[in-house]
């Protein structure tokens, strides 16, 4: 579904962070992208979302080349992006934030589906509340639903557990897994929390110095081959 070939991206000044990443993600897979800070994970996610211009290589979704397309085109082609730090609209209500997820999609109706609050009920309880007043975990749930309501084919999740209390991290992990299983949603997730990765992902890619350096084709290998975790994640 997603094919990334020798993708190069980095600072607008030309400095490279991503130095030729190559990997595929098949439809319905949940793939974790692991690596230490500064290895290029977030740069890769931003490039795939169209927020950073690519400097070389290409990426395709269902065969369509999307490198250097504007991000609104990429979003409408089916790549949904939940960025690090969530980036919800703090002054908007929960409901307005969710609406933003459909208003930019001409092929979707201009209103929220009735079952929108089934996945994270707390969002329904707070739908008229300003999003900026909610806890970090609730804001993360909102950012995920704002993306999913736009019916992406591929979900890019950047550090969804960062700064969130463990009970909500578990809830988010289980809910995403249920959604992925029932809808066939494909997910590429950057994450430091290995428990979360083991709950959600089917396999893992390891990033080092801007390239995909290694992989674990079953998520169980994170435990069976501790040298992988040690090599790519320990500080």
């Amino acid at each position: 579904m997603l094919q990334v070939e020798n993708l190069v991206a980095g600072y607008p000044s030309g400095g490279r962070v991503l130095k030729g990443a190559t990997f595929d993600v098949a439809k319905g897979e949940v793939v974790a992208l692991l690596g230490r800070n500064g290895m290029g994970k977030t740069t890769l996610m931003r490039a795939l979302a169209g927020q950073l211009a690519t400097q070389g290589g290409s990426f395709r979704l269902d065969g369509r080349e999307l490198g250097n397309c504007p991000s609104y085109v990429i979003a409408n082609e089916g790549i949904g992006y939940v960025p690090q730090g969530r980036e919800i609209f703090k002054d908007f209500t929960v409901e307005e934030n969710l609406l933003m997820g459909v208003l930019g999609k001409p092929r979707l109706p201009n209103r929220l589906p009735p079952d929108i609050y089934d996945f994270f009920p707390v969002l329904g309880e707070r739908r008229r509340q300003k999003a900026g007043t909610m806890s970090g975990g609730q804001q993360q749930q909102l950012a995920i639903m704002r993306c999913l309501v736009g019916q992406p084919k591929l979900l890019l999740l950047d550090e969804p557990s960062e700064g969130i209390q463990p009970s909500i991290v578990d809830e988010i992990g289980r809910t995403l897994q249920a959604i992925a299983r029932s809808t066939g949603l494909t997910i590429l997730v950057v994450e430091q929390n290995l428990d979360f990765v083991e709950t959600l992902a089917g396999r893992a890619l390891f990033m080092e110095n801007g390239v995909i350096a290694d992989r674990a084709d079953r998520i169980g290998q994170l435990r069976e081959r501790p040298e992988l975790v040690h090599r790519y994640l320990s500080i």
């Binding site: 927020q51 504007p70 609104y72 979003a75 960025p83 980036e87 609406l99 933003m100 208003l103 930019g104």
Partner: protein, 284 residues
């Protein structure tokens, strides 16, 4: 008592006309971070559309209806020809739109001559307001400006298009990643802001001297209104227009125009000195 009522009516009249120009500036600055120095000339074109149309057809009202349409098209053209190429370069947009304002002003001189034109008052009657005989047309301006300000507020805060525009203002990159075509929002907003300025120029034409310098006379107070009220806020535009429009009218009633201008500038400087982010400050 009657003098007070007349003064209050004049204040409301100027404030509401100023508000139309200021709203256009605020929505363009808020969304695109472009300071449009040619905004006063959009006001000017609006007035001259009325001069041309009422001269050709004899109908003021047709000119009033056409002015915002013409200015929306001018806005689209200016956005496409100039703004879209430079709107990442803040200082350059000031320079480019200032250059554009000179071109428009001289273009008007070439087409209509440097002298003042007059537009006959389309409603030459007076209405009794609490014992004051007040020109009917000025009341019409007030009602129309208030209605348009409300419509603008409604568009931005009660419609789905307004939600998208506010989303782009709050976080352009994220709005785009949700699929919103931010370029289209820019274009629409620039056209709406330009149309508001053109409409203000058209509606004010019968009570002003229509000449190539009239744009500056509205651009400066409306910039002051934006600064005093608070950048990036429609409510700030309302408060700023009230303060600047009110002070200008009230001071002008007692002293000469020039002295009144000095006092208004002083007032604006004092307010900005103590409230650098404007009266409503960080609130949006």
């Amino acid at each position: 008592m009657q003098a007070t009522i007349a003064l209050l009516l004049d204040t409301a009249n100027f404030t509401l006309a100023l508000l139309l120009v200021t709203l256009g500036l605020v929505v363009i600055f808020g969304l695109m971070n472009v300071i449009n120095m040619a905004h006063g000339e959009f006001f000017l074109i609006g007035a001259y559309v009325v001069v041309a149309v009422s001269g050709a057809t004899g109908s003021f009202w047709l000119g009033l209806l056409l002015a915002p349409v013409v200015l929306a098209l001018v806005g689209l053209l200016v956005e496409w020809l100039i703004i879209r190429h430079i709107y990442h370069r803040f200082i350059d947009t000031i320079l480019a739109t200032w250059g554009l304002s000179l071109v428009i002003k001289q273009g008007v001189v070439v087409l209509f001559g440097p002298g003042a034109q007059s537009v006959p008052n389309p409603l030459p009657t007076a209405v009794d307001v609490f014992g004051v005989q007040y020109p009917a047309y000025r009341l019409f301006i007030m009602a129309l400006a208030a209605a348009l300000a409300l419509a603008t507020y409604y568009l931005f805060f009660r419609t789905k298009l307004g939600l998208q525009i506010r989303g782009v203002i709050a976080n352009r990159a994220m709005a785009a990643s949700l699929g919103i075509n931010t370029r289209r929002m820019d274009r629409a907003t620039f056209a709406v802001g330009s149309a508001l300025a053109g409409f203000a120029g058209a509606v004010m034409a019968p009570i002003m001297s229509v000449d190539p310098q009239m744009g500056v006379g509205f651009l400066i107070p409306s910039f002051l209104s934006v600064l005093v009220g608070g950048v990036n806020s429609l409510v700030g535009a309302l408060i700023g227009s009230g303060v600047i429009g009110g002070a200008t009218t009230i001071f002008s009633a007692g002293i000469s125009q020039a002295d009144a201008q000095i006092l208004v500038f002083l007032l604006a400087m004092i307010i900005i000195r103590f409230l650098p982010n404007g009266i409503i400050g960080g609130r949006k």
